[in-house]
């Protein structure tokens, strides 16, 4: 039982990192990305590659994963600068689809559909983090650092600029804000931090394949942010906890067909999204009245 809870908390922190970073562009910058799972994947594959071939050190594998994701995220930032939010959904959806194709075809790097096995555990100063409890602490620390970083960032002028752009891009532009650079930076920050989750995921499970980085993951992450409340600090974390508890909750319900748990979970959060949008568009944490999201 203890092992089960430790595992759940570890996976929750990893997913919470993804939800918080996605919320950073969705809630603060108004960029609705359906390709967040791709950067999760980029982080995971890069960390796995580095850990297998060079060094499994936390201070080498993780920064490299972050840098690679940051560079690749420029591909996502490029269309984000050219078009309004509505059309960016299409571009990111396309990128998500393209990314999954590359993940499953580039066999020498990603192992194709079979994935990569035998990723060594992460080392912190030659100390191998194998004990699940220690790894849980490591992921919680990563989550806290990222949440703290984003909380600080959203208080700075950069964060205020982001919100200004979300609420009115033209007004921000008229006030002399460099909209292009601010948007690009926000995408780069969000994607590179998502890579941390990917790296954690890879060294935790020791095995990754493309299944974890599909459109379903991107949509699930979006659901976590929305159900919790986009544009709030706590919302995405609460959303993550709720959605991660759902599958185990459903497996306790004996009357549900056990083979369909995955589908039932998806239906549950699909329905939650619809109902929340009708009755409480701000999400669970957000205020019930319209306050953001233009």
């Amino acid at each position: 039982m203890a092992a089960y809870i430790i595992n759940l908390i570890t996976l929750m922190s990893i997913n919470a990192i993804l939800a918080v970073t996605l919320n950073f562009i969705m809630g603060y910058a108004g960029i609705y990305s359906m390709a967040h799972a791709i950067f999760f994947g980029v982080g995971a594959y890069t960390a796995a590659f580095v850990a297998l071939n060079f060094s499994a050190s936390f201070f080498i594998a993780f920064p490299i994963a972050i840098i690679v994701a940051a560079i690749l995220s420029l591909i996502l930032a490029l269309p984000a600068l050219r078009v309004r939010g509505e059309y960016f959904v299409a571009a990111s959806l396309g990128l998500q689809v393209l990314g999954v194709t590359i993940f499953s075809e580039w066999k020498s790097f990603t192992g194709g559909l079979g994935g990569i096995i035998g990723i060594p555990p992460v080392e912190i100063f030659t100390y191998e983090v194998i004990n699940p409890l220690e790894f849980m602490l490591l992921s919680l620390v990563c989550l806290l650092l990222i949440v703290g970083y984003i909380a600080v960032l959203s208080k700075t002028s950069f964060g205020r600029n982001l919100k200004a752009i979300r609420d009115s891009e033209s007004a921000a532009y008229a006030l002399g804000k460099n909209v292009a650079i601010i948007k690009t930076l926000s995408v780069v920050i969000s994607s590179s931090l998502a890579a941390v989750a990917g790296a954690l995921y890879a060294v935790y499970l020791g095995f990754i394949n493309v299944e974890s980085f599909t459109l379903d993951t991107s949509v699930l992450l979006m659901a976590m942010v929305i159900i919790g409340g986009a544009g709030t600090m706590l919302g995405p974390i609460i959303g993550t906890v709720i959605l991660m508890l759902l599958p185990s909750l459903f497996s306790y319900m004996w009357f549900l067909p056990q083979t369909e748990i995955g589908s039932i979970q998806q239906i549950a959060y699909g329905a939650a999204m619809v109902l929340l949008m009708i009755f409480r568009p701000g999400g669970l944490v957000g205020s019930s009245k319209k306050q953001e999201a233009k």
Partner: protein, 290 residues
């Protein structure tokens, strides 16, 4: 000969894409609702046709009619029960998009539970390809797809241009407030738009079910095509969406000369990406870069 074969396949796929994209573009253009569940409408129509025609062995005309009815009902239901309540209190792009996405997820999984997540195919007497020339296989479905698309667009064009409701629909995209002044109800018109847009995917759903089979997850692909074609064609331009659908179907097939079939969606994305980078207004649209 391979090239000619791919061109013919491209025309068939392109005609179907054009139908799908025009349906989405019509809805998005007139109501500004980002109808992400358009892909779900497609899967509903296709699976209703499959379960009636292939499983229950009902006559194809009746199956097609019921499939059409199901699609229209689903579209109008979403408009009345999901989008209308949201629009009453705010109706920002984001809220409508999320609600629509949620509906799409529900439908996809319900279909997965009912029909299974695997591939199913519909076999019709017309699915069989005929060898026209040595090495050139053409299925009668290609011809039917093209004729269907051309017919549908001709009827749609006449409807939008010549009838009173059509004119009202066009003005809905321009100025909903003024419509109210003229004593028409924007909500009622919006339902008509949803019925029309949903009806347009039905022939595409039936024909692609009969030519290439179905699975519950295909709604994502349909959405990618609709979105890409709407942007490539120029937002708000039905003609543009139709040409763009054709272009996407063509490029997907021509790319098979050089790439494996698993790259077909990547090709769609690259076309979309090039347009966003170099011509964000699309073929016929107004500038969308802000």
């Amino acid at each position: 000969m391979l090239f000619l074969q791919l061109v013919i396949n491209g025309l068939q796929v392109g005609a179907l894409y054009a139908l799908i994209a025009v349906g989405f573009s019509l809805i998005f253009g007139a109501t500004k609702i980002f109808h992400f569940a358009h892909g779900a409408t497609f899967t509903i129509a296709a699976y209703v046709f499959y379960s009636l025609y292939s499983v229950q062995e009902v006559h194809w005309v009746l199956s097609a009619l019921v499939a059409g009815l199901a699609a229209v009902l689903f579209g109008v239901f979403l408009d009345k029960c999901v989008y209308a309540p949201i629009q009453r209190h705010e109706g920002s792009f984001f809220t409508l998009f999320v609600a629509s996405l949620g509906c799409g997820i529900i439908v996809q999984n319900l279909i997965g539970i009912i029909f299974g997540r695997g591939f199913v195919s519909v076999t019709t007497p017309l699915s069989q390809s005929v060898e026209l020339f040595p090495g050139l296989f053409v299925s009668p479905l290609s011809g039917i797809a093209i004729i269907c698309a051309v017919l549908a667009f001709a009827v749609l064009q006449t409807f939008l241009m010549k009838t009173h409701i059509g004119m009202a629909l066009r003005s809905l995209s321009e100025n909903p407030e003024l419509i109210r002044v003229y004593g028409l109800s924007p909500r009622q018109l919006s339902s008509i738009v949803f019925a029309l847009g949903s009806l347009l995917v039905v022939p595409a759903a039936i024909l692609s079910a009969s030519s290439s089979g179905l699975n519950p997850a295909m709604s994502h692909h349909i959405m990618l095509i609709s979105l890409a074609a709407t942007i490539v064609g120029g937002v708000g331009s039905l003609r543009g969406a139709a040409y763009a659908g054709l272009l996407l179907g063509m490029s997907e097939n021509i790319a098979l000369l050089y790439l494996g079939p698993q790259w077909s969606e990547a090709v769609t994305f690259i076309v979309l990406f090039l347009f966003i980078m170099f011509r964000p207004a699309g073929f016929f649209g107004r500038a969308i870069a802000s």
